[in-house]
Symmetry: C2
Subunit: 456 residues, 2 copies
């Protein structure tokens, strides 16, 4: 259960890791669409949510690692707020909800930070990812923001291992994930526009929570990895990649991908590729466990994919050599997965490398593996996505073929028949347990049989 | 019909009004939600859409009012863009779509603007409303952005009078407006959460276009004018204010409000208030025409509301004096309406006062009327909203009663029975024709009988 104590305890653990200095955690402000007052749906900063849990714009949290004290800064609501936006709750009351008694106005925040700067204290901040944040922090500290590595590392340490209340929240969110993905399966019929399915799915995420956790990827052009255009009309036998996530009211994310055949039946050719991707996904599910490098899980998936494509005659040569050479990346050009939590790519705002890599595991520079967001050793309580895929990307095939890239491992001639295939991606979320990994939530139909049954 | 010529003609007309200097119109960039790569649905800048029509991030338009030349600046897509986001179209091709042949990289834009600054030429810019814009423009011109009044006035002149293609686009968009509002009527039953209706409506806007034109207001607490919280469970006889708009793929907005009784039947008390608001709406519809001050339409609505509330015994005294004194604003504390077009509050980013007021009509400082966004004389081709309302806002009633504000015109004692009433707002969009005004689109059910029939 989340309570005011949840946040107080997290702040205490943060102080224990950061040890000294003033930790400045600005909540987000509203983001304008086409003019200042016409705003996007408010998205609170995830770090602020983690340590303060308050879901309103214009608040800033300060944690004094020396005195151990937490403070909340913001404005009290005015009569105008009451009339226009129905905001009544005094700042003091908000603060109490996250176990804080010490509050102040934005002017007091200015004074507090200015005093700390004048005293030469360390001001710990995280890398800003919105221009407003950058300007606010620069104004507060009187210089260009420079992120604190100590604070980044402490936040990654805490947030990587999910608490019981977080695991329960994620598990619960998966119910809506199941709903939206099976809804897509029911709707994917010839004559339907992609936008009709994507719109319905997003509507459901708003019906039951805070909306989507990232822009929906739903396309018959599944070979475009992050395709947010939904203008195509679907026809029989189109293969649609649906990569979509729900965000709960507490802003925990889901992230699943299914690949579904328009009309409800896979062709033989589609099944062959699909089953390779499913085998890769299942191999990771069976082998992921505490102590294992997630990078090795990525290579395991690449190995299963390479073996499968060899059987179809699309790849050739020694599998281990092909994977070492990065030949699989023509078909599987992205990473196996990433952490999931308050962000769909959890903590990516801290810097992807600080989250997924460490002293033991350095990021590869090889095409494909370089995109791997998460590589380090798994621990119980980690939540990661498992999302292998196979794609046929004409522009990339042409580039490799022209350059002779990995031609020892790829039968370029055989690829001609696959240029309009699209892609297949299958993504579940794994909770790393004490001894292995489990798929979070009720597993969304994933075998050929299950998907065809759901679509019947 | 929109064509490349549409944009070329608009730019020529802009040049004719601005006369000299370099006009800098940056398109929008992506807005991050919780980390840089996790973005909100892209919303192009409306001025950029009006003069260039291109709906992609990272472009900047420059119009040289001296040479008459237009230029488009941006990046060409890379192989990485092709793989990840499916972006293929070269900049040159984008430019041709809006009738431009002259293109350049962001570096060329820097050089172009730096040269103009060095030559002492006027750089016309609009007021930035996003922090990213402000930073981009400051970097380009080498100083803090200062908006050009000449450019603001020229844009207001052009965009206030809608072209035939714009009117057709707005009229078409009203079909989805009709759909979402009647959907709300069908769904508003006891035991349903507000979020279920709002989510379904937003889903429909995504199914058929670019989504919502502003955050949906849907609440049984209709007395909160811009209430974006949808957490209430609806019960029989709750009165729900539904203020929601659709945005077409070309980003033209709709904006309508209906107030609907949960369960499908208004109570006698609700009908009495509802019919006053409807009478105010209809009075404006019948009287709005070219040459009339929209401010007078606001006062007409206020007059009908005051008369109606007098009949119910909630107000008293001379109607004209009550309206002059602003007594109606206890119940109708906002303005009658605003322009509508590419923005739901059209051109609000230029500064509301520059759009709705001019040398002839100055903004009032009186509570209520001060919120009127649009006041100036109507012209054929204007598109404005007509949205009178009556609300019972306990905090405001208490404030006025305690201070004795307008006590000559208000029967505070009678208001006790209305403290939990909520509010009623009824909003249509009017096109100002050569001789009058018409409701755009098929009018959404609005009389008590029509609404009850739709909900039956």
């Amino acid at each position: 259960m989340f309570s005011s104590n949840t946040y107080a305890t997290r702040r205490d653990r943060l102080i224990a890791l950061v040890k000294s200095g003033l930790i400045l955690i600005p909540g987000n402000t509203d983001s304008p669409m086409n003019y200042r007052a016409n705003i996007y749906r408010f998205r609170q900063d995830s770090t602020f949510l983690y340590f303060f849990g308050l879901d309103e714009p214009g608040l800033t949290g300060v944690i004094d690692a020396d005195s151990g004290e937490s403070m909340l800064f913001g404005e009290d609501p005015t009569m105008e707020d009451t009339i226009w936006i129905g905001s009544f709750e005094p700042l003091q009351q908000k603060a109490e909800r996250c176990g804080i008694s010490n509050t102040g106005s934005p002017e007091k925040l200015n004074e507090k930070v200015a005093q700390a700067v004048a005293e030469g204290r360390i001001i710990h901040i995280l890398p800003p990812y919105r221009a407003e944040q950058q300007m606010q922090i620069a104004a507060l500290i009187g210089s260009e923001p420079k992120a604190s590595q100590v604070l980044i590392n402490a936040c990654v340490t805490l947030r990587s291992v999910k608490e019981a209340c977080e695991l329960a929240e994620l598990e619960k969110a998966m119910e809506v994930a199941y709903l939206i993905h099976t809804t897509a399966m029911h709707m994917a019929k010839p004559g339907v526009y992609e936008s009709e399915i994507a719109g319905t799915m997003e509507g459901l995420t708003l019906k039951y929570g805070a909306g989507i956790s990232f822009p929906i990827i739903l396309s018959k052009n599944g070979q475009i990895l992050h395709n947010h255009h939904h203008h195509n009309l679907l026809a029989e036998n189109d293969l649609v990649v649906v990569d979509a996530g729900f965000e709960s009211y507490r802003h925990y994310a889901t992230d699943n991908t299914r690949t579904i055949p328009v009309g409800g039946r896979f062709t033989q050719k589609q099944k062959e590729i699909y089953d390779i991707v499913l085998a890769a996904n299942n191999a990771v599910l069976e082998n992921a466990k505490p102590g294992v490098l997630f990078r090795d899980m990525h290579f395991l998936a690449a190995t299963v994919i390479t073996d499968g494509l060899k059987q179809l005659g699309l790849m050739k040569g020694n599998t281990a050599e092909a994977v070492a050479s990065g030949a699989h990346a023509l078909f599987f050009p992205h990473g196996l997965g990433h952490m999931l939590g308050l962000d769909v790519h959890d903590m990516e705002n801290y810097g992807e490398t600080f989250v997924g890599y460490n002293h033991e595991v350095k990021r590869s520079e090889q095409f494909g593996t370089a995109y791997l967001r998460m590589a380090r050793r798994l621990e119980p309580g980690f939540v990661v996505t498992n999302e292998p895929g196979i794609y046929f990307i004409p522009a990339l095939i042409d580039q490799w073929q022209a350059a002779g890239t990995n031609s020892d491992f790829i039968n370029f001639d055989k690829l001609t028949d696959y240029r309009s295939f699209g892609g297949v991606r299958l993504e579940d979320t794994l909770e790393i347990t004490s001894h292995g990994a489990r798929v979070m939530g009720k597993r969304i139909p994933i075998t050929v049989e299950e998907v065809e049954r759901e679509m019947a």
